[in-house]
């Protein structure tokens, strides 16, 4: 019999029962936030159902919180609808006894930053959240994916999810990346390779020496973006880095329980003879700092490259889609991508707002600053840390001072301009160098133009005033 993949092992450990060919999968951790839960709690009430495991549920306020004045709590929210949604969450978690980090609590922040930071996210777990970037938690070797609101209600009521098993897809990234190249570039390169629907129906396990070489923050960035390749979830097998990251966090086991947990976590890896339905291999050394030029995360180009034209497409549909993207983005086929002048820089989001992300951006900013360079005068640049604790850590390291001295805004945590549900949005036609995850039309504000890139690349763009090669700023 062939061995099992990491995904197979997590799956097998969580099947509670099978009904009509559908598995009922136990859920170890349910993360919730204000936007995708009100209708789920309303459904529970209408059917007089309880929350089965409030202790396995954690709530944060992140999607529509403003990034200033959070100490005031929901009073800081000017938008009436957003305020009502946040108040609804506060009432729901109180009624059902769910732990909640409200706005202004130092532990609050983006749900996919908070879960790992608190040690709630652990290897071998099943984790769901009404948010597609739940795939982030796969960095710890947990099976984690986004669900809709009806499924949120299902998990609240039953602590399970009805699932069919996905396919096993392994992406190996081997070798040593060049300086200035990291997890975000890997992720964009993978999506460029497989396409935005390339992972549909699959769980992707990331493996290879370049993946092992990534920090936990880098692995989170990589798994976070798996959904942009259409995959159900991303996974990295846990190792010493994972265990070191988790040790001593508020919700991780201590003492003898830690040893017991560790022994269990170490069973989660793909066996040598495990069979994958599909496998691709990328050479880390051949990946350049990468940005997106269009309106789908698969529209990637090396920073040294040129904007493609419709003639590069294989089908009439794709040609039409490139023409449409070029028009929306205000770009010409064949122009160097570094010609794109930037109006706004956004460093933040569940993809890239952790301490290491801020350090890598601050390093570029500091080097530039010491060479007499500041944020370009026409650029509005902002940093939105992923949580109150990330913010506090960055401040303790003096990163906020570096950013502010160079002309960045240093803001309070939340999803912010990644999806622009709060007041942080692009104006029509504005072009943004963004460390977020989606360059869809209108994502960061109607008519806004998004170029996805790493924090270091975004920092370089802020200084240069246009898309720039971070290697010129190292």
């Amino acid at each position: 019999m062939a061995g099992k993949t990491l995904y197979d092992k997590i799956w097998d450990a969580h099947v509670v029962d099978t009904q009509d060919g559908e598995a009922i999968l136990y859920i170890d951790l349910h993360l919730i936030h204000e936007v995708t839960t009100p209708q789920a709690f309303a459904g529970l009430r209408a059917n007089r159902r309880a929350v089965r495991r409030p202790d396995r549920t954690l709530a944060v306020a992140d999607h529509n919180v403003p990034t200033e004045g959070q100490a005031l709590g929901v009073d800081a929210v000017a938008d009436e609808e957003a305020r009502l949604q946040l108040q609804t969450l506060a009432k729901n978690v109180k009624d059902y006894g769910i732990e909640f980090f409200p706005m202004g609590d130092v532990r609050n922040g983006i749900v996919h930053v908070v879960g790992p930071e608190q040690g709630r996210t652990q290897p071998g777990m099943t984790i769901v959240c009404g948010d597609s970037h739940t795939s982030t938690h796969g960095a710890f070797g947990a099976l984690a994916h986004g669900i809709g609101t009806s499924e949120v209600e299902h998990v609240l009521a039953t602590q399970t999810l009805r699932q069919k098993k996905a396919k096993n897809f392994r992406v190996r990234i081997e070798g040593e990346p060049a300086p200035g190249v990291g997890a975000k570039d890997f992720a964009l390169a993978v999506i460029g390779e497989i396409g935005t629907a390339g992972g549909t129906g699959s769980v992707i396990e990331f493996a290879g020496s370049a993946v092992r070489g990534l920090s936990m923050e880098g692995r989170m960035t990589l798994c976070n973006l798996t959904i942009e390749g259409g995959a159900k979830a991303g996974l990295v097998a846990p190792d010493e880095k994972t265990f070191d990251y988790l040790m001593g966090r508020p919700a991780t086991p201590k003492g003898g329980a830690w040893e017991m947990a560790l022994a269990y976590w170490k069973t989660f890896f793909s066996d040598d003879d495990a069979v994958f339905d599909r496998e691709i291999v990328l050479d880390a050394a051949s990946i350049a700092p990468t940005v997106t030029w269009g309106t789908s995360p698969e529209d990637v180009v090396a920073v040294t490259g040129k904007v493609p034209g419709p003639d590069t497409a294989s089908t009439p549909d794709k040609r039409a889609s490139i023409t449409r993207s070029l028009e929306y983005m205000g770009l010409e086929a064949g122009q160097p991508i570094t010609d794109a002048k930037i109006d706004v820089v956004f460093i933040g989001s569940c993809t890239n707002s952790r301490i290491e992300d801020l350090r890598s951006a601050a390093e570029i900013v500091q080097t530039a600053f010491l060479n007499g360079l500041l944020v370009a005068p026409h650029v509005r640049a902002m940093v939105v840390p992923g949580s109150g604790l990330v913010s506090a850590q960055a401040e303790a390291e003096g990163l906020d001072a570096i950013f502010k001295a160079a002309g960045f805004e240093w803001r309070e945590p939340g999803c912010s301009m990644c999806l622009a549900m709060n007041p942080d949005k692009l104006e029509p036609g504005q072009r943004c160098a963004s460390t977020s995850n989606r360059n869809f039309e209108g994502r960061q504000g109607r008519g806004g133009r998004t170029h996805l890139m790493s924090p270091a690349m975004a920092a370089a763009a802020a200084i240069a005033g246009h898309i720039a090669d971070v290697r010129d700023y190292l």
Binding site: D17, G130, T158, S321, M421, R446
Partner: protein, 203 residues
Amino acid sequence: MDAFTRLDAKVVPLPLANIDTDQIIPKQFLKTVDRSGLAEGLFYDLRFDEQGRPKPDFVLNQPAYKNAGVLVTGDNFGCGSSREHAPWALIDFGIRSVISTSFADIFYNNCFQNGLLPVVLKAHEVQQLMDEARGGNHVVSVDLEAQTVTSPSGAVFTFEIDPQRKIKMLNGLDAIGETLQAEKSIDTYEMKRALSQPWLEGA
């Protein structure tokens, strides 16, 4: 959830690939605490200009496609955000079935929770439906029982669907109620887990 058996309705073509859920229902409509009333936000940036005036050239604003119940569209429909507001908005607008060559996973799941039938057809069949839908006022039949789509000209296309999902959709079954029939298994699983992974208890 409303049951879905057979639908005879006007078909509207939207020949774009990779339509993401941000386009189906933009962020400003996600602040609601209700499931209903989202029709206004459906394809908002495609339907309305910056002053909120309907764009006359957008297909859903054309009188010939008024009250359409079936949307036929390009590859990978519903990619991106997990927002269930996307199927809610489509249903609220009157769309009960979406036909494409492929759907993103989360959106596809969300459809089945809401009685919105996603139908996967072959590329040339989708293309034929789009061609026949042109001009408006053309009716297609989507028959879930028979697993067929009948085009305005009478061409019949068959589609695959998971048998359990089909039964639930035909009967409008509540997934939570069904899962709770296995509540004893959940109890047993939790008891075993409390022994093998005690660190997860009372966290």
